[in-house]
Amino acid sequence: MSLSVDVALTRGAFSLDVAFEAGAGLTALFGRSGSGKSTLINLIAGLARPDRGRIAIDGRTLVDTAARVRVPVHRRRIACVFQDARLLPHLSVKGNLGYGRLFSRLAGGDGRDGIEPEAIVAMLGIGHLLDRMPAGLSGGEKQRVAIGRALLSRPRLLLMDEPLAALDEARKAEILPHIERLRDEAGVPIVYVSHAVAEVARLASTVVVLEAGRVAATGPAEAILRRPDLFPEREAEAGSILDMRVEGHDEAAGLTRLSGPAGRLSVPRLPYEPGRTLRVRVPARDVLVATRVPEGLSARNVLPGRLAALTGAGPALTAEIDCGGAILTARLTTASASDLGLAIGAPVYAVVKSVAFDPAAIGAGRRSVEI
């Protein structure tokens, strides 16, 4: 699947002019409020019209102002999950789920492709809610039902407009695993709007960063998230993502050994079988740079690599360290960079002080561990 968007729209003082492509998996539209994320979602869904431009899925035009084509909302087969769930209050949970299914069937669906309703209900854990009315559901339950309803309409594309923004941390943790399963199992491409770095880091395959109605950056999640210039007010959250595999456990020391392209890490014992893959996030501020193998240091995880880039200006710099193809970012001051005599391409060692695990694997909130 490929979604291609190239649209412009002006509403009063706000103007939107963006072009991007999104492939399979989950594409995150990231940006502050007012950056145009929701407007873009409305344009894709067909709830708003662009002044100019074209939107197409798999080559099928949804809107093209030049060719005067505009497919109406209900024929686009693009389902939305809104921040406020928008369940139909006069229908039970079962009725809401059936509502999505009804129209996809009337539209001539053979009911074969797409996931079985039972599987969706089970995947979202809403089987016990079927006879309830939406008014009696918690925020998290409502969102799960809304996701199920959207999936049952057998969409070509699923739009999620800050589906977690109205929920507290506990409810978010309840829903995030479901969205991950959706991404990995449902086979429906997702465009996910968020202004939370943590959500984007956890879910996205591709990230489109919006700033004041323009695309500031777009690319694979790992490449975008380690750029502190895009997240100036969130420096603490900038970091790199490493794909690691559980090698084995050292029961005596209470450690789990992980390995990946970047090298090996020892972390406090994790409850996973060897062979399981994890996403590990390493905050840039928790990585030290050394030019020699450090001695007499409490940190046990030292990854050898080469200095790939040194970016930024002023007192703080970001060092990108290429460890076996994976890029690790480290924050350091200009003063210490010159003390170390850092040169691009020179061998360096990344000392990792802490990592955070993708809670997809953990099954409950993000966990940061000193190592």
């Binding site: 067909g46 209900h74 087969r77 809104f82 999505g100 539209a107 009315m133 008014a135």
Partner: protein
Amino acid sequence: MSDLFSALTQDEWRALTLSLKVSVVATLASLPLGLWVAWLLARREFPGRSLLDGLVHLPLVLPPVVTGYLLLLAFGRRGTFGAALAEIGIVFSFRWTGAALACAVMGFPLMVRAMRLSIEAVDQGLEQAAATLGASPLAVFATVTLPLSLPGILAGAVLAFAKAMGEFGATITFVSNIPGETQTLPSAIYTLTQVPGGEAGAMRLTVIAVVVAMGALLVSEWLARRARRRVEGLA
């Protein structure tokens, strides 16, 4: 109550049943059009929207006699449309159908007002959500807008019915006051007050008018409450 009904003269009885028939027909016949106009005014932007809004409200502000006279000009036997309609067998002038038309026109602004308000109160976000799930505009109206605005729609219909039961000026101007054909309850009361010894009959019909109006209000209140409970998902 049964004493009251048995005391009715044949003319009074006919006036009551005729009024009920005229009001029910006027309400039911104008319901689809009223719903459509209310939806247009609540949900669509189009040129001439203010003009339509004004036209709908005109009977509310015009003297009823003027409305009745305009109806006579348009739908009388020699009227603009009346002559053509007579050709295909539809006659309004001096028939009970004309009384129903007059009542429908007079009740229309009240009906549209109530319906429009309740349609406007329906969260458009829900309608959008339904559309993204594949519901066509008509399906969105039937499955989301209509059920969610049902209390107001019922209230609008009952208001129109009550207005029809009491309509006098436009009806008597358009279709006159013929016992058994166009003499509705208000016309009958008016006639009784004009003849010596009619006070008792006028009183009986007045009591009936009050009872019918009260009954309609109670029924609408009950229906609206039930509909609202269902809409809010508390049933």
